[in-house]
Amino acid sequence: MNTALEIASVGKTFNEDSLSPTVAIGSITFDVREGEFISILGPSGCGKTTLLRIIAGLIQPTSGQVHIKTDSTERNLMLVFQEYNRSLFPWRTVAKNISFGLEVSGSSPKELAKRVDEYINLVGLKGFENHYPWELSGGMQQRTAIARALACHPNLLLMDEPFGSLDALSRNELEDDLLRLWKQASITILFVTHDIDEAIYLSDRIIVLSQRPSKVEDIILVELPRPRHQVESRSSNKFIEYRSKISRLLGRGKARE
């Protein structure tokens, strides 16, 4: 399979010229193949969000490069923010939020209506088209944010702890929805989380980051069969092995500091 994304020795130091610079990312290197589901796992504050913002082009790395491979000339990636409730456009309804990317890229009204309808159904928000974001629960807001990103047909989807603030039930539900969408749309997903189980459940591979200044501690290949199942997959022996391995990795990272 082709490489979708190359992270080559990316480092980021905030406030470089000040007396107390923050080395957020030491040096990170890894590749992502097309169609892969990759999780980035690391203790909070280790620069996961920073890395996604660098990949999305919102900020520049201090060192290293990001290469994004696409067929088209245009870099087609979308970022689902950790703060999804602040990232939705409050002046737009659910349907209008989802259509935003299509509107600005000049889709025809017919195409636009069709695609909005498709993604409303896909994320299960039928009947909430004309609601404003503040009228929705956290889970529904997150679904809207995901649908808004997917409606642009990205080939690379970056997600920053998207289910972090949800209750366990809607979290499991959304995890399964995401896996289904990922399979249907055949996109590459880079999924940031600090939840070990979630990373194992979702991913093909897990990039485990160390404490700040972060580097890649290890890359875990998750060989659990797909489609995965919330109860069976999570209770399999392999799953438990992965969990203890990663726990040890993260523990080691902490002990060293």
Partner: protein, 274 residues
């Protein structure tokens, strides 16, 4: 414990009823009481009734005026001035405010000028405006624009500067061009502040229209009021004042209705009439 809870509920309920029902009624009752006192004071000559005619006389004059052609010419010329100035102030204030809010360079360039001009009471620039623009509508509209622009400009800058960083970055992930970014992200995101500024300026535009009409010219409600006073037509003078009060109320009511509709996406944005 139970009784306590019930009491809280009871008082809470009562307060609520008070706020929406009796509260409003008592406000109207106060107005009616004041009008009655006016009628009585002047009818029984506690105050010189030439300068202070009874309410009934004023209402009679008001009705006569409303049925005449001329007053409508005055009303429409006042409104025309008011809205011309207001629209110009919006057309300048919002774009400049957005640019100042987005670009530190433009902000640094204009901020000192704004801070020097803004505290000048608008009436104080009337003599200068007359020197350069004459005594006709050009001068009058200029003064209205000068007065109206500051609340719009300042609130727009505030609104733009306080846009959530996440919203800005979200906009950036959609790779918008400059115009798309300003029109589809910055403008709507700062609209609650912009609307607040526009509402303040709407009231100001009417105040200044009346003021400049009293200084020069021969039409408009401002002129009508002053002219009535100079010709000792005091009931007409008071009727002009009442008219301008009613016009102000209607304009504000329309604005509140309109913005509550446009801003209905904004939780908690329900402008009230006062």
């Amino acid at each position: 414990m139970n009784i306590d809870l019930k009491l809280v509920g009871f008082w809470g309920g009562e307060k609520h009823v008070n706020r929406i029902g009796i509260g409003k009624l008592s406000g109207f009752a106060l107005i009616i009481a004041l009008l009655l006192i006016w009628e009585l004071l002047s009818r029984y000559s506690f105050i010189d009734s030439v300068f202070f005619p009874p309410l009934s006389t004023v209402i009679y004059a008001l009705m006569t005026e409303i049925n005449s052609q001329n007053i409508w010419i005055d009303i429409s010329s006042t409104l025309a001035r008011c809205f011309s100035g207001y629209i110009i102030a919006i057309t300048i204030g919002i774009p400049v405010g957005i640019l100042m809010g987005r670009s530190q360079r433009i902000y640094n360039l204009f901020e000192p000028l704004v801070e020097i001009l803004r505290p000048i009471p608008s009436a104080a620039i009337i003599p200068v405006a007359i020197l350069f623009l004459g005594i006709e509508d050009k001068m009058k509209i200029f003064v209205i624009v000068f007065a109206c622009i500051w609340p719009i400009l300042i609130n727009t800058i505030d609104g733009v500067k306080s846009i959530d960083r996440i919203l800005i970055e979200t906009g950036n992930t959609f790779r918008l061009n400059r115009n798309q970014f300003l029109l589809r992200i910055v403008l709507p995101a700062s609209s609650p502040n912009i609307v607040t500024g526009m509402r303040i300026s709407l009231a100001i535009s009417l105040i200044l229209a009346i003021t400049v009409e009293m200084i020069s010219g021969n039409n408009g409600i401002g002129f009508f009021i002053l002219d009535a006073e100079r010709s000792f037509k005091f009931p007409q003078m008071y009727s002009g004042i009442i008219m301008i009060g009613m016009i102000g109320y209607i304009i504000n009511w329309g604005f509140v209705k309109l913005t509550n509709r446009v801003m209905k996406w904004h939780r908690g944005f329900t402008a009230t009439l006062v």
